[in-house]
């Protein structure tokens, strides 16, 4: 009798091209967004997700078949996919959107669901939030749409051979350990790992890896936003503080301000 084949895990890693974390953000001239004519890179939480997928493959305890990076964004998002490929993902999917189009979390979740239904993935590892909109919703929405378990804010991830998954979650009170079974969604938190650099040999090799490109219409998806941004403004300028010479002066100033 043939032994049962070890279960192969197909991992999908959504990556987002967002404004680089080191850029100084400025409000756009129309007051409805920020200046996007600046450096963009892969969302740092997504880098952690790609890194985790690759580490899962490197650990012999999980039999990973394929790691696919997917991005929904404008033409330049293909650079983000290439970065994921250079880190070690095997292939990429790019759903193209018009330049500067807003794609809301629910649209992303629907798109991911379509891809997952079509191509059969077992595990989705994604960033817990994108650093440009800080929505933090896509992971949960996707889990809801698919009816899958989710382990969010993961700071530790273990996938056993039979498909059992252990996730340590970062929560307000500390850490929470949960156990679930594939298929599932995992969203990454900062402490999960430190992403590797894409080495030059890997960047060169990544150019040969395949990226499939789709338009939303091809997949029957509608990205029309449901929200309208009314205005974006900078936080009020910080008022300078004053220096005090003694504790007594501090106390009297606090009384003046009505604080005590």
């Amino acid at each position: 009798m043939r032994p049962t084949l070890p279960r192969l895990v197909n991992i999908l890693v959504p990556v987002k091209r967002s404004i680089d974390y080191a850029v100084k953000i400025r409000v756009a001239s129309d007051g409805k967004g920020v200046d996007t004519n600046v450096k963009h890179s892969m969302n740092p939480f997504d880098e952690i997700a790609v890194e985790e997928a690759i580490r899962l493959r490197e650990k012999k305890s999980t039999k990973v078949d394929n790691i696919t990076a997917i991005s929904i964004g404008p033409a330049k998002a293909v650079d983000t996919i290439r970065t994921a490929l250079a880190m070690g993902a095997d292939s990429g999917i790019h759903i193209t959107t018009p330049e500067n189009a807003v794609v809301e979390p629910i649209a992303v979740a629907n798109a991911l669901k379509k891809i997952i239904d079509d191509k059969k993935f077992d595990l989705v590892i994604m960033g817990k939030q994108a650093i440009d909109d800080d929505s933090g919703s896509t992971g949960g929405m996707l889990a809801g749409l698919l009816g899958w378990s989710q382990g969010s804010f993961a700071s530790k991830l273990e996938v056993e051979d039979g498909g059992k998954v252990h996730v340590t979650r970062e929560i307000d009170g500390g850490l929470e350990n949960i156990e679930a079974k594939l298929p599932m969604i995992v969203t990454t938190d900062l402490r999960l790992n430190e992403p590797r650099y894409a080495s030059l040999p890997n960047i060169m090799k990544a150019k040969k890896k395949k990226i499939e490109t789709f338009k939303p219409e091809d997949l029957g998806l509608d990205f029309t936003p449901r929200f309208e941004t009314i205005s974006v403004s900078e936080p009020p300028k910080r008022q300078g503080g004053g220096k005090v010479e003694s504790v007594d002066e501090l106390v009297s100033k606090m009384k003046e301000a009505g604080v005590i």
């Binding site: 084949l5 192969l8 680089d20 974390y21 080191a22 850029v23 100084k24 400025r26 409000v27 756009a28 001239s29 129309d30 007051g31 200046d35 996007t36 004519n37 600046v38 450096k39 890179s41 892969m42 740092p44 880098e47 690759i54 493959r57 490197e58 650990k59 012999k60 039999k63 078949d65 033409a75 330049k76 293909v78 650079d79 290439r82 970065t83 250079a86 880190m87 070690g88 430190e194 992403p195 590797r196 650099y197 894409a198 080495s199 030059l200 040999p201 890997n202 960047i203 060169m204 090799k205 990544a206 150019k207 040969k208």
Partner: protein, 651 residues
């Protein structure tokens, strides 16, 4: 943790020569310390595809007792035809020209690789700038149709002399006539050149620095470069994310690092390229970009000033260019042969902006960018020998800036083009001679003297020879006055047709007087509206370096080097480095007890602030600061500022 970004967004055919690409990284058994994970994964079974990944993405763990020796690590190697260190105008022009020649003349496909330490092409490029399109017209005649960001022609130019409270117009040398030139963001222009290069099939790798030169077996030639290791901690030990740099073996290596490049310095020493030449002298250019009110904005206006705030003994002057989109580029260049160690180029620039001439323009505007970079001032006399076995120096690495014109981009580009032509000839003739790839390993390093000769006969040298005496004429007891008088005479009438050549007799650091011989300079405090404190300015450069990496500004390794440096610099030169660095990297802070290096001070290097201007390496009186390349992708991000962006104008 931002990853180096590959700008390849176009499909590219990797030519067959990349099959030679070999990974020679150690696998499982190399060292007892290592615990590698997963080198190849074979997945079999009915219906599934066998996958064999022969590339190791393992992370090596080294025993913490063993001191890590980067030289002992085996590295991936790659064979290319031309490796260009530096993705600036010179480097990219060379790359573009090589690919053009390949298309024109046919033959085997050349592999041309450009290594750029900035996070993107253009990130480390800073200049005024008004560029002459002479070289661009030769390289890419249809640049306008291709969308080159040369949108603002220079419409008027003038020169003013500033006194402390007022200014008056003065005549300027004919070289500074800008008819036909364009006011550009050089950073954006360079990014555009990068796109053109990639479209032609050049492999451009931003975020990867060329850190070491590879020499041939006999040490007499250059056979390539090594990119930097990443993932070392500040003690030089590998972290989990350690990736060794990669070796590029190239038939021709072109060094295009810009002024005072680190590899350029090494190569000039090794091959004695400066023999018989004057030392290279430099200026420090400090720049800001402002968005100004409509009332004062005059697009296309070009103004240069001399005089205040610099004294007659200090060479330098300012510029003010009205670019596109209500943006104004302004800055101050200070000759680094200045004498007074109390001089702070940054603070001179800040106080200069309060002069009515500048204040009227900048009032109620918004400063959106800041940067600084050393530039060559030596001119013709200071150009080193340009070629060495296996490669050549191009662009500002050699030093082709025309100082009176304040332009060097066209010369840098032309040098890149001529180097490409010479390299192409040599490579195609040598490869037709020896077909066997392995034979070329032992072949003689390519001789690039054809490039040096072509430069001597080119318009670059003709124009540099004509103005060779202007800048050095400022080395006279009357300083500015003598210089202006001579320059007027030479540029208008003599035009360099004289039998004499004034020499650059001293290195910039040598001319610094001791603090005891000069008077300290009092600088006003910044007001936060027109002038700013240095740390605010540094934040506008977008500079960042990944934390926990080795400090890239190196004192000598000998015992006590730090103490000796601090001793000499604090007692004799009043902590010069702390004043000259335009990014507040160096500090001599008050210290006590065991923290003291010397004279009650501690020498602090805030290397994360570094904006790669190279001034410290040039001006340190004790010449014991070595600028080495930090991890690729770090450093300033100039490219993001100079775009016609959608910044909201402050109310």
């Amino acid at each position: 943790m931002s990853l180096p970004k590959s700008t390849s967004s176009l499909p590219r055919l990797i030519n067959s020569r990349s099959a030679v690409f070999a990974i020679t990284r150690p696998r499982l058994s190399l060292s007892t310390h290592t615990s590698t994970t997963s080198t190849s994964l074979r997945v079999g079974g009915a219906g599934s595809i066998t996958q064999s990944r022969s590339i190791s993405t393992s992370r090596r763990r080294y025993a913490t007792e063993a001191k890590f020796d980067p030289d002992s690590v085996e590295r991936a190697t790659d064979e290319v035809d031309v490796c260009i260190v530096g993705g600036g105008p010179a480097g990219l022009s060379a790359a573009i020209r090589l690919k053009q020649l390949e298309q024109e003349r046919g033959g085997d496909e050349l592999r041309v690789v450009v290594l750029e330490k900035g996070g993107e092409v253009g990130a480390h490029i800073l200049s005024g700038a008004v560029i002459e399109t002479r070289a661009l017209d030769e390289l890419i005649p249809d640049w306008k149709e291709l969308g080159a960001p040369l949108n603002q022609p220079a419409l008027s130019d003038s020169m003013r002399f500033l006194t402390e409270k007022s200014s008056f117009p003065m005549p300027h040398p004919p070289q500074m006539n800008n008819k036909g030139n364009y006011i550009v963001s050089l950073s954006r222009f360079t990014a555009w050149l990068g796109e053109q290069a990639e479209a032609l099939g050049v492999e451009v790798y931003p975020g990867f620095a060329g850190t070491k030169v590879l020499y041939t077996e006999d040490g007499k030639g250059v056979k390539g470069v090594v990119t930097g290791d990443v993932g070392l901690d500040k003690d030089g030990q590998p972290k989990d994310s350690y990736e060794p740099g990669m070796e590029f073996h190239s038939k021709v290596t072109l060094i295009a690092e810009g002024a005072h490049g680190s590899l350029s310095k090494e190569i000039q020493n090794k091959f004695d390229l400066r023999k018989g030449k004057d030392p290279q002298t430099y200026g420090l250019g400090i720049k800001e970009v402002w968005k100004v009110r409509d009332e004062v904005y005059e697009p296309g206006k070009v103004v240069h000033t001399l005089g205040w705030p610099l004294d007659y003994k200090t060479y330098g002057g300012s510029w003010l260019y009205h670019m596109e989109d209500n943006m104004v580029s302004l800055g101050l260049v200070v000759g680094l042969d200045y004498e007074n160690p109390y001089l702070s180029p940054y603070k001179e620039f800040q106080r200069m902006k309060h002069h009515p001439f500048f204040a009227n323009i900048l009032k109620d505007g918004q400063c959106i960018a800041y940067g600084a970079r050393a530039l060559n001032e030596g001119g013709y006399q200071s150009i080193p020998k340009l070629n060495f076995p296996g490669g050549a120096l191009i662009g500002c690495s050699a030093g082709f800036l025309n100082v009176p014109k304040i332009k060097g981009t066209h010369n840098a580009m032309k040098s890149g083009m001529l180097a490409a032509e010479s390299a192409f000839e040599s490579i195609t003739s040598s490869s037709s001679a020896s077909e066997d790839a392995s034979e070329s390993e032992n072949a003689e390093p390519i001789d690039m003297s054809g490039y040096a000769k072509a430069m001597e006969n080119s318009w670059v040298y003709k124009e540099l020879k004509e103005v060779r005496n202007l800048r050095p004429s400022f080395h006279n007891p009357l300083g500015l006055w003598g210089g202006m008088a001579y320059s007027g005479l030479d540029s208008l009438i003599l035009k360099g047709r004289v039998p004499w050549t004034f020499r650059n007799n001293w290195e910039d650091y040598e001319t610094t007087k001791k603090a005891s011989q000069v008077k300290p300079i009092e600088y006003p405090q910044p007001d936060g509206k027109l002038s700013f404190d240095i740390l605010t300015s540094v934040s506008l450069t977008g500079t960042n370096h990944a934390e926990n990496q080795p400090v890239h500004l190196r004192l000598p390794e000998e015992q006590g080097a730090r103490e000796r440096h601090t001793q000499a610099n604090v007692s004799d030169y009043a902590g010069l480095l702390g004043r000259v660095c335009p990014a507040a990297v160096y500090e001599y802070t008050d210290a006590e007890g065991s923290e003291v290096d010397a004279e009650g001070k501690k020498f602090v290097i805030n290397s994360q602030n570094c904006i790669h201007c190279k001034t410290c390496s040039i001006k340190t009186p004790t010449q014991d600061i070595k600028w080495t390349v930090p991890e690729g992708g770090g450093g300033p991000k100039y490219s993001e500022w100079d775009k016609p962006s959608t910044i909201k104008f402050p109310d």
